[in-house]
């Protein structure tokens, strides 16, 4: 205990934060993965996972153990170092993003002045992992997936940022905490419904969720950019996807749904996180719902939709917001 006290408190806090974040990434993926499979079952007139644990709650843990036990195969023609690196490129940034998420008034690792810019920048980094994974697999289907992913992410980044800027114009700040605090009277989803819709659609495209799941379109590209990945490295992509979904949801909640605000619960200081999580998972539920209902769009339709509709509408929305704010 003596030695423990001699450690600098900063270091202890950092280690605790890292452990909590990684734990949360896994937990979130377990919950979302289970939720997705159960909900998909509901939508499809079937019970979903039922075998492992009561109502199949342990199914995802069983899957994780199975994936850990699998051999990681590197194709002979693949670029081995970069092929190995790709899953980590996908996985590491998602941990970093947690720094700025304001789960409640007090639960935030650090409130950067540029928190929003930071989280959007880190989220955009995901595309590098997809590109490296697809390109270095030396598989044509993977390459297709990577090429699609880059075009899609670059295109949808624009309406996403434009819609976010509209909110920033109102709040006059890019600190996540201040954006949340600025919504104490009225949520931005009321004042900026168009921006929210654009953000949500673009967010689904950013995270490659159906109907925008073109980089991994299984009926066309077998599994897209992660065709060649197996075992734990495959599950890193899986974890990254679900964590990115969580970020899209949590940025939406912070920007448009008043963040942690909600009636105070008996836990007082920590009631914020309950509301925050509830809102995020509600948005994610809608994303899952959409995924299991719609067919996939075609690639040119996806880009047309972005450039011809989303981007112009986002621009007009931004312009109108700017004029109204100035008034």
């Amino acid at each position: 205990m003596e030695d423990f006290n001699q450690l600098p408190p900063e270091l202890i806090r950092m280690i605790v934060a890292v452990v909590v974040v990684i734990g949360f990434v896994f937990l979130n993926s377990l919950v979302l993965g289970y939720l997705e499979r159960k909900l998909a079952g509901r939508f499809q007139l079937r019970p979903g996972p039922m075998e492992v644990g009561p109502q199949g709650v342990l199914q995802l843990i069983a899957d994780a153990v199975k994936l850990l036990g699998k051999q990681f195969i590197i194709p002979r023609e693949a670029n081995a170092p970069l092929f190995r690196l790709a899953p980590f490129l996908a996985f590491v940034p998602v941990g970093v993003s947690f720094i700025v998420i304001p789960f409640s008034q007090k639960l935030q690792v650090r409130d950067f002045d540029v928190g929003l810019v930071f989280i959007l920048a880190v989220m955009a980094f995901n595309v590098v992992a997809t590109l490296v994974a697809g390109w270095m697999s030396n598989n044509k289907y993977s390459l297709f997936g990577a090429a699609r992913s880059v075009a899609q992410n670059v295109a949808y980044e624009i309406p996403m940022l434009l819609s976010v800027v509209a909110v920033v114009l109102i709040t006059n700040s890019v600190s996540m905490k201040e954006i949340v605090l600025s919504q104490q009277e009225v949520w931005h989803v009321v004042t900026q419904p168009v921006a929210f819709l654009i953000y949500f659609i673009a967010g689904m495209a950013e995270t490659h969720r159906a109907p925008f799941d073109l980089p991994e379109a299984e009926s066309e590209l077998t599994a897209g950019f992660h065709t060649e990945f197996s075992g734990i490295c495959f599950s890193f992509f899986f974890l990254a996807e679900y964590t990115n979904m969580f970020f899209v949801g949590s940025v939406a909640v912070a920007l448009f749904f008043g963040g942690w605000s909600g009636p105070t619960l008996p836990w007082m200081d920590y009631s914020g996180i309950v509301w925050y999580m509830l809102k995020v998972y509600l948005l994610l539920f809608i994303m899952i719902w959409i995924r299991w209902t719609f067919p996939r769009v075609r690639f040119d339709q996806l880009l047309n939709f972005c450039w011809k509709y989303l981007t112009p509408i986002a621009l007009v929305n931004l312009l109108v917001t700017a004029v109204l704010v100035k008034l």
Partner: protein
């Protein structure tokens, strides 16, 4: 084909789609010459599941080949068997009791609906919608249960016999079938909302390719694809076999011949199938279901052919007999083969996603191609 060496003017590369690929629905391989996401040329490569069915037909007795016929187009197995028994009855001059003909029509039409439902689900799966297949399978399951009660199997039926059917149907079969008709009529509304009116589905399917009557003639296109081009050709109407001439039903046709029309033709066809089944159940004649045929059946020398309308088009059997108890030559004409041969022409300069969609529209059953 010019693609054997690759075209030098274009920056093209080859993409091997299949034999293991989620949307070829079997062991079909398609060699694609691609320019980015665009397909320049497509060449189907067959033969991965070839089982010498025709030769098997020539090396065993007339009756012994019957189980093989349900392994051709296994999604519509009863209809395939229907063609073969019809052929032998035509050659041997066997008169089938009317009740047996009616039972054949009822079970064949149930099988056709099941086939269309499977296609519908798989087609939407090709388009990336995961949910509809569960709904269509739920409906198809009812058909399989009904057919299982009377035939004893769920997929590769061997129910028809030369001279009738194996077992008579009972009251519970009729009851269940009527329930199913009611149920499916209600489900069409769900499919309308879930699929037909879905904006993404419409955008994906409409006006991508155009099957023309001219193309249909050149490739021998049959079935819903042919009817989607506006040609009203259905063996059940044009060359009625079994008891089909006694029923009142329409042959749905399209106008433009795109994939949306082919989709709608199939959906409307299911409604017509229900009408046929209803009429057959109402007017089901009494009597035996099987006439006695000699154990060692010898057909008179000569040749004959018999066509049936499967869920995919015209399935024709042609055989030559030399008077012995095995066929001299048996030729099977599968609609899937002709329908697939159209693919290279229609998919030129189209996106890979559209190729998958067109492949889904063709509704191929690969074992019927690789016989």
């Amino acid at each position: 084909m010019t693609t054997a060496t690759g075209n030098q003017d274009r920056h093209s590369f080859f993409l091997n789609m299949g034999p293991q690929h989620p949307s070829t629905h079997g062991v079909l391989r398609i060699l694609l010459e691609m320019d980015g996401e665009y397909v320049l040329e497509a060449e189907p490569v067959l033969g991965y599941g070839h089982r010498i069915q025709e030769k098997m037909g020539e090396s065993r007795t007339w009756k012994a080949f019957m189980p093989n016929t349900s392994r051709l187009d296994y999604v519509g197995a009863l209809i395939c068997t229907h063609g073969y028994v019809g052929l032998i009855e035509r050659m041997a001059g066997i008169e089938v009791p009317p009740r047996a003909e009616y039972i054949r029509v009822i079970t064949s039409e149930l099988n056709r609906i099941g086939s269309h439902l499977l296609w519908l689900g798989a087609f939407l799966l090709d388009l990336g919608a995961f949910t509809p297949i569960m709904y269509t399978f739920d409906d198809r399951e009812q058909i399989l249960d009904i057919l299982e009660d009377v035939t004893g199997s769920r997929l590769t039926y061997c129910y028809y016999r030369v001279g009738g059917v194996n077992r008579d149907i009972d009251e519970s079969f009729i009851e269940k079938t009527r329930d199913f008709i009611r149920r499916l009529r209600g489900r069409f509304k769900i499919y309308q909302d879930l699929i037909t009116d879905n904006i993404i589905f419409i955008k994906r399917v409409r006006d991508i390719v155009r099957f023309t009557p001219d193309m249909a003639r050149r490739y021998g296109l049959t079935g819903p694809l042919l009817r989607s081009t506006g040609i009203r050709y259905d063996i059940r109407k044009n060359e009625p076999y079994s008891a089909y001439s006694e029923f009142d039903f329409e042959v749905p046709v399209g106008t433009t011949g795109d994939c949306m029309e082919a989709y709608q033709v199939r959906i409307r066809e299911m409604e017509q199938c229900l009408r046929i089944i209803e009429q057959a159940l109402d007017r089901l004649p009494e009597g035996p279901v099987l006439v006695k045929t000699p154990r060692k059946l010898k057909l008179p020398p000569g040749d004959a052919s018999f066509s049936v309308e499967t869920a995919r088009g015209e399935l024709a059997y042609y055989l030559v007999s030399d008077g012995s108890d095995v066929p001299y030559r048996l030729k099977i004409r599968s609609p899937c083969f002709s329908n697939l041969s159209l693919l290279p022409e229609v998919c030129r300069d189209m996106l890979l996603s559209d190729l998958v969609m067109v492949l889904g529209t063709l509704d191929l059953v690969i074992p019927a191609i690789d016989r």
